[in-house]
Symmetry: C2
Amino acid sequence: MADESLPPWNPYDPDCPTRMMLDRIGDKWTVLVLGLLSAGPLRFNALRRQVPGISQKMLSQTLKDMERDGLVDRSAFATVPVTVEYTITPLGQSLAATVAQLVTWATRHADQVLAARARYQSR
Amino acid sequence: MADESLPPWNPYDPDCPTRMMLDRIGDKWTVLVLGLLSAGPLRFNALRRQVPGISQKMLSQTLKDMERDGLVDRSAFATVPVTVEYTITPLGQSLAATVAQLVTWATRHADQVLAARARYQSR
DNA sequence: CGGGATCCGATCTGATACTG
DNA sequence: CAGTATCAGATCGGATCCCG
């Protein structure tokens, strides 16, 4: 009677790919950076300006992690001073598209969540 | 001259519904609990057993947050000892379905991410 | 310009102990 | 059984300083 077919997901161990990606998109900045880069390549400080509130440290770290996971490509040009451009990869694009669905859900159901909170509070 | 049409998403302020939900699914346990409850109601300790590694504190806190946001319903029965059952709401189901897409993405692209990591490391 | 290194406070999490 | 309270450790994130 239990589902013999593979369960909806099984990320009960931290090394599972599901947990891996949830952790990534759950961090404070990855989704924001991904969204900006999905519209076109950007340089470090351009990104920094377009993500209000991010620190160099976090932007740097976020980009490094995303590059590590194959979501963005980093290309440095030996100009003076150096120019670095970040480009989203096809893999990153496909993730961005998937995350967009979640954003759509959040946008569409935000009122219900807020209503639930109001109900909960006045309980 | 800025984009008049609404951008892909604009969660640049932390109060935005997008950030709100990303933070929720980004936490360590919500997705796991949501997945289990999407298959049917469960009691507190049953959930605890089926989510290996979770502490009472985190399960309790996760469930409270989910109830607060209208993702689950909590019903207590005055048996001895008390019985409490958690049930997923329609809102929670719809979120679970959306998250499942992300899980599908993660499952399908995990090899690419791991390959990217291997490439990055041996660089 | 594009970062790295370091310090420090805030937050998150888990282990433990206790309760109705 | 289903939690709450408290404490300690780990992690996160930001500010600052420095470098090629």
